[in-house]
Subunit: 422 residues, 2 copies
């Protein structure tokens, strides 16, 4: 007997047939004797429809009224799932954000959960009633509807799991777990049984889009064990806590030694949403780099990888760095405006780059990981343009056209290939 | 300077362009210095979409969850109208049913408004902020979402008007007022400047579908002056309280003497949604009529007009009455089941009937009104099958095919024809 929070995304809630299917999955957990709360997203496409209404009504819409409009999508699916569960003979009721309430702070349309009064909710769960909670929504100090920003339902689910002290937060998506790399690119990719929060954060932030990054951070802070699994495969509808079908995201403490030592690398992520900027012939003097990055920071543009090369002329250097692709145009404008102060010669943008990151808490020596990486990529003619490391990650920047090749080569080089796959 | 509640129905809110148009109408009243609250329906068709979701999810849906689902339609339009008003430079915010709150009693999906805490709302209106309230929704004693039943937004508007002590409740529809009869049938129909609550109730309940009957009853009880007008004609967007463009629905006290005495009859309504049932050769003995109507009352079937004819045989009689068409099949089943007890010979249903009602608080003598009616209809070969009267109404049942003819004949006979119309 466990206490479980289950979360279903928009594709799982897209239409009455799918909501019925979700009701069956939920009821099986309840029938197994577990105390169950369910967090739901709006029907796929519904939030977009509502957001577009707001945009059409006014290009400068009031975020407080935007929240009133878009929060309705999850209200609808919460009520419908309760109805579908009742029609299966289960006890169920919806709990809207303002009913618990889920108290939030900070700005409308991007609120953060501050506290959840989960007393009544927990009592209902203990009495055998399934609690259905619309994700994404909360209540402000002023008693108004708030929303958490797109993808916020994952965060709602983790916060509810923390508030009710759930044994597990099961996040149902359209993939059946977290893989060693993107299985659409690397057919030998393997589903992972366990990853740590830290690994998941690195994998999520560099492009393995399974969970909202914020929700993983919250789970790590609150110690909420997450399982990622699919609502679209039969194997996920009938199983026991001893034989979980998805990928568990847990703290490093919970990783057994054999998990940790089995492989140096847990997974390999790729991210094509970075762009590279090179400034040529920057004066090679103290303060020059600050002149470049201060105006970018002022414009809230996030700079990731940085390389400084010695230029052709003495006393000059080339500086290269990456920014998110969406910020490239703004970054170029900011730097052009600062050309006199920085004193560079040319500004060269390049969107034809990809970042490949190998991630693993078992990583002991960056040097060893990096040397394997360089050798494997060089053997196949892939040139490394930049490199960065963190505690559990080594990332390289390469030409975008080599992304798939690099993923396959590295997946094999780090021993991640499934034995029985094609 | 007045305090006004404005109510807009689903066709007025159907899409962003129309919501913008509504925002303009509302802003003109606010700019004129009035304190304004606005009650909105869901976009036309949206409530049907949400109701169908519930029905698809379960044929026996939980009314509490139904309310959660369908109340979302008005939440969306309330937020969008607030955004549209803000984009015109007005101060505006939405007030959801649970935020005021609008407290309701009785069953989910057909709740009744018990009380409204309008203190904060009134203060906001006094500060020049336009208050937008989703119609149709409220809050139960248990803190859950309730709805008032289809068409409930009219009732919401009247209740809000009573709570904030509004000078007037303007109900915007797709017609520009209340007419002496259906102007689609009688081209000489005239728009009325004033009708009494009692007249409006009779006109509404016999098929002049401008306002929900319940809202008129509430307005009468609370003394809320209602104006019915159109959101689709330009004349209704710019006018003063001295020159109201629509039809005012007021108490009899407010009717001036000249209004009352000008005409005996205020309007003529028709209703094709009745069906006639005749039981032949019912024993003509005490208790026979009770045997017929008791089982119908038990089945909650409303019986309207009743006629008893002496039958062919001595000691027997034919009994004819009307029921709502939607209840005809059930009524037939109930009576067939009671045949032994009642002792009739045949049961004859007839849906080819219409009820024509002439209504007017100025009506002094039913006899005079009825005699004009009989003569006018007989002159054109229209046979009267049944007749009923109330304090301010005389109704006759005729063959449905004569409906339009009868309306035109009576409209002329009671002197209601417009002089300048075609």
């Amino acid at each position: 007997m466990a206490r479980i929070v289950m979360k279903f995304g928009g594709t799982s809630m897209a239409g009455i047939e799918r909501i019925r299917r979700v009701a069956q999955i939920v009821k099986q957990q309840s029938d197994a004797g577990h105390e169950v709360a369910v967090v739901v997203s709006a029907m796929a496409g519904d939030t977009d429809r509502l957001v577009n209404f707001c945009r059409e009504a006014s290009s400068l819409y009031d975020p407080a009224e935007y929240d009133v409009v878009v929060a309705s999508g999850e209200q609808v699916t919460a009520g419908l799932l309760a109805v579908a569960l009742q029609s299966l003979g289960a006890k169920a009721r919806s709990w809207l954000g303002w009913q618990m309430p889920i108290r939030t702070i900070e700005a409308h349309s991007k609120a953060r959960i501050d506290s959840i009064d989960a007393g009544a909710l927990t009592a209902a769960m203990q009495s055998g009633e399934i609690a259905i909670i619309p994700g994404f929504q909360g209540l402000s100090d002023e008693g108004r509807v708030t929303t958490l920003g797109r993808g916020g339902s994952d965060t709602s689910a983790v916060a509810i799991a923390a508030a009710v002290k759930a044994d597990r937060c099961d996040i149902y998506t359209d993939v059946d777990g977290v893989y060693t790399t993107d299985p659409r690119i690397v057919t030998r990719a393997q589903k992972l049984n366990k990853v740590t929060f830290e690994e998941m954060l690195e994998l999520a932030s560099v492009g393995a889009k399974v969970l909202q990054t914020r929700s993983v951070g919250l789970a790590m802070k609150e110690g909420v064990r997450i399982q990622v699994l699919s609502s679209f495969t039969d194997e996920n509808t009938n199983w026991t806590a001893d034989d979980l079908p998805g990928t568990m995201i847990v703290s490093e403490d919970e990783m057994e030694i054999e998990d940790m030592e089995r492989k140096l690398i847990t997974g390999i992520a790729h991210d094509k949403n970075e762009a590279k900027i090179t400034l040529t012939r920057v004066p090679d003097k103290p303060g020059a780099v600050a002149d470049i990055f201060a105006p970018l920071a002022d414009a809230a543009i996030n700079v990731d990888m940085i390389i400084q090369n010695v230029g052709r002329e003495k006393g000059e250097t080339d500086v290269t760095f990456t920014v998110p692709s969406v910020d490239l145009d703004r970054a170029m404008q900011v730097l052009e405006g600062a050309q006199a102060k920085i004193g560079f010669n040319r500004l060269i943008p390049d969107t034809n780059v990809a970042k490949i990151s190998v991630v693993g808490v078992g990583m002991k020596s960056h040097a060893g990981i990096a040397s394997t990486m360089f050798r494997a990529l060089a053997d196949r003619g892939v040139n490394i343009q930049a490199i960065t490391t963190s505690e559990i990650k080594v990332s390289v920047l390469i030409e975008e056209d080599y992304t798939e090749l690099a993923l396959r080569v590295l997946h094999t080089a780090y021993g991640l290939d499934a034995v029985d796959a094609a």
